[in-house]
Symmetry: C2
Subunit: 155 residues, 2 copies
DNA sequence: CTGCCTGCAAACTCTTTGCACGAAT
DNA sequence: ATTCGTGCAAAGAGTTTGCAGGCAG
């Protein structure tokens, strides 16, 4: 899905929900879709302000749940206090695991379709219906440990 | 593992680390091991104070990482802002998944040994060594949805 | 006795919210 | 014209920390 196609999808989502397509919301959307890595709300605010300097922190925090609900943005909570956001450019499976490198703080996303099966299996035994699942692996950089340098750190 | 055996293990852990076995730390330990369900730091503080009313919030927060490191206590972060704690009475596998009921807020723990294999597999592809993994399923109560009452809620 | 540990309260981080103004439809 | 949306700043929740005094070893 191209960024402009996603942008249209966002506009449609807003219209359908009876929400307005304001300059600020679109700037935040564009900021999010310009990102390659996972970013925090604060980083998104900075970037959105470089597009439209009228964007405020409050609006970022108010817009993030909307974008998350539209499935155009994925929210990732790795237990560090702050949440990370990542554009869902493929529009595809939401069954994704994360591998978090504790050395470079990078977040890698890995498709993990079996999570859905697991959630169903385990929930039904408890009389529950799964809503969502998360699978995260925290890890250390092997190269850094051995050679003192993380090859990915160089970027 | 009995509670008193765990208590001894905690004392030994403290000694080995050169830490002192203070009244407060032991009260917090006892409070944690008296719990059946998952509790927050605040709930633990209340309970610890009923054992020794000199226990302060600061000491609870300072003691929790020590107990977690000793593996006698398990920390569970389900992304609700506060962390939950649970005594590791079996002393066994740390490979545990959580099923969180969004209706009654209960946390169910489920042994998931395959997580270790998964962590290894996925990490090695990235040149990483896994440190820990978490698998969580959020779910809704089926009985509550159908009959309006959660059988577990009654407890 | 020595210095690790403690309680207190203030500080901190991330996020949410009340209010009056502003702009999308 | 109507509302919904906005920026600002203050509030909020959970956790951490600086400091002066207290207790374990």
């Amino acid at each position: 899905m191209s960024t402009s196609a996603a942008r249209e999808k966002f506009r449609r989502f807003l219209a359908q929900k009876g929400l307005r397509a304001t300059r600020q919301r679109l700037a935040i959307f564009d900021a999010a879709f310009a990102q390659k890595d996972h970013v925090t709300a604060e980083q998104l605010l900075d970037y959105a302000r470089s597009i439209d300097d009228s964007v405020s922190r409050a609006t970022v925090y108010r817009t993030l749940p909307i974008m998350t609900e539209s499935a155009l943005l994925r929210e990732v909570d790795i237990g560090t206090g702050e949440k990370f956001y990542h554009p869902n450019k493929e529009g595809g499976s939401t069954q994704v695991a994360q591998v978090v490198c504790l050395d470079c703080d990078r977040i890698f996303e890995i498709s993990a379709p079996f999570m859905e099966w697991y959630g169903n299996t385990v929930s039904s035994k408890l009389g529950l219906t799964p809503v969502s699942q998360r699978l995260q692996v925290s890890a250390r950089c092997e190269a850094l440990r051995l050679t003192g340098t993380c090859p990915r750190r160089a970027s």
